[in-house]
Structure formats: C-alpha cells, structure tokens
Amino acid sequence: MTQGSSTGAEPPIAPDPDIDEVEASERSGTDRAHARQLFVELSQRPEGDPTRAKMRDELVAMHMPLVEYLARRFRNRGEPLDDLVQVATIGLIKSIDRFDTERGVEFSTYATPTIVGEIKRHFRDKGWAIRVPRRLQELKLALTKTTGELSQQLGRSPTVAELAERLGMSEEEVLEGLESANAYAAVSLDAPESSDEGGGAVSDTLGEYDEALDRVEYREALKPLLDELPVREKKILMLRFFGNMTQSQIATQLGISQMHVSRLLARTLAQLREGLLHED
C-alpha cells in the first residue's frame, strides 16, 4: 500500500470489528433456543455416550462468535488475537462442561465471566500484568491521589518537586513511582474497553477533529486504525493532538486520573505507530 496515493480508491481497511460484533450477537440470538435444547439433551445423555462429544462440539462451534467477540475486546493489549481466541475457547469449553440448565440463566451470561477470566489469566501468565511490589503499588496510589489534589489547588499539573514535598519523600522516589505507574500492564484489565456506552455522544464531538485529520498525510492509512480504537482512546487522542488539551484537562473531562490518560495515550500512540509501519 503506497501511502497517500490511494485517493478515491478503496481505503486499506482491516475488517470492521463493529460489523462483526453486531453479526455475532444476532447470530447468538437466533441460536439461543437451539443451544438451550442441546444443553438439556446433553445433560440427559449418560456419561460416555458418543453423541455427547458431538453435541459438545456443536455447542462450542455455536458459541465461537461470543468467544471471538470477547477476545477482540482485549485485542489492543499487545497479544495476537489468535492466541486470545484460543485461550478464550478454553474458557468456553470449561463453561459448557460446567453449565447447569437448571440454573435458569442464559448460557452466554454464565460463560462470559469464565471466558474473560481465562483471557485475563493468559495476560497474567504472559507477565504483562507485571507484579508491582506492594510498596510501589502504595506509592502509585498516593501519587495518583496527591496529583489530583495538587492539580485542583494549583490549577495545573504539579511538578515532581511539589509532589515530593507534599508526600514527604524524595524526588527520586516520586520518579520511581511514576516509572512504575507507567508499567504497561497497569492499564486495568478489569475494565476492558468499558466506554462502549455513550459512544454516540462522543462521536458527535469528535466530528470537528476529523477535519483536522484531513490536513494530515497518511490519513488513508490512519483513519481505519483510528476507527479500530475504543471510543475513549480515540477521544483522548483527538483531544490531546487536535483539540490541544492537556492530559490533566482530558482527565478531568473524562473523570479518570491524569496518569491513566498518560498510559492510554502512550499505548495508543505505540499501536498507531505499529499499525502505520505495517501499512508502509
């Protein structure tokens, strides 16, 4: 793909995740009754009945869209999607084996936490979720809290010296805390792309920044990458780079900490860089 020269031609599009997701949820809707029936039959067959394995396979195949959907929610965290789908499938199989139709919940409701749990475990096992020593965890918490307080008082983001003084520690320690706060995995895996709701309102405000984007070269390559971003990440990116807001201002607007904004920004930039590199 030659950058910039493909005006009017088909943009270099990765498959649109949103479309897949819609399809996935519709499909699982129509299959729901069938799945329920299969579960009932499965529970009635005696152990060792050869049709059990077949039914189980069918149930797995039937719920793969759910698996793929959940895996995709973690796709921007540095692990290949294929691997995520694989571990998520393990979660699905566990759920199928443990599901009890008597419980009166939908299978997808029952399976989702198990599948997500399996994905998170994968991240933990891979060492992404670097275990931060307790001392640093506490330091990080103190920094986040104090940064918020000082920002309020000063009307701007604090300096390291100001933080050190308020916390009664050395600047070295503050820097160490900031460093550990930047550790990749600190981006909470427990809150996967939570910002799906309210997406409509957000995209309204993003419209004006899209115009700013038009002045940027490689936009044909960039736009699909931006569209793949979770709404919140895209919003942060746009506000910072085209809306000229500071990290603290964005943090206030989104109701999250400045450190969180900083981490999300750094991660998003790295992703875009990676994506653009592969376009070249």
Binding site: V216, E217, Y218, A266
Partner: protein, 144 residues
Amino acid sequence: MTHDAAADIEVPLRDVVTVRIPASGAYLAVLRTATAGLAARLDFTLDEIEDLRMAVDEACALLLSSAVAGTDLTCAFELDSDGLRIAVTVASRDGVLPRRDTFAWTVLTALAGGVDARVDAENRVTVELHKMRGAAAGAAAGGA
C-alpha cells in the same frame, strides 16, 4: 504552603546530558527514564513530563525506521533556563528528513511544542524537540 519549588533550582546556563544507545527500540526505555528525570529537574509538570516522554518515543520511532543497522542513536538533552532541548540523531540510510505533514509530526508538535529536523553531509538525521518551561516555572496564569 505555596512553596515555589522552581525558585530553588539553580539551573546553570547550559547543561548537556548525552545518552547514546544502540539504534534499536529495545533501549528506548532508558531514554524515557532519562527524559523524565531531567524534565523533573527543570520543574516541568507531570503533564509536561509525560508529554516529553512520549515525544522522545515518537521522535526515536521516526528516526529508527531509517537508521543504519548496527549504528547508535544519540540523544542530547540540553537544559537551559528556558526549558529542555532534546536532539535525537541517527545515521540514516537515505538522509531524508521526516515529512512535516504526517501524523507523527503533528503528534511531536503537540507534545513538545517546538520541533525541527536537519540532516548533515554524512546523512545523519536529527530531530530536535524544544519544550519550553511552562505552567510551573513561569507565573501560573491561565490554566484549566
């Protein structure tokens, strides 16, 4: 309680810290840490420190894509009373300057404030970032 920390720091007129690493992404963490440490010395705010960290990352990424394999990347931090100048230099394969109409350049400008690029006769390409001391160092007017 309003202690003006900026006044305590005696920054000599011009200090230069140079860090040289292999031209490979694997060592960028060293530069990020150095950037944060030096920016803290100059009393940049956390916002500005994080911006600088990302800017250095971005500048390096920009240059590493055309760096001659097996060479070094040099990062010179110049601390003066106005702020921080960071010059990232690599031996480039083609001696072509980064384009200014790209997303990467937009990002760099938003993060650092001043951005410039130059190339010398030996195809050494430098991206220079210049971040002025802002909110905390001067009078903290404006804001929010």
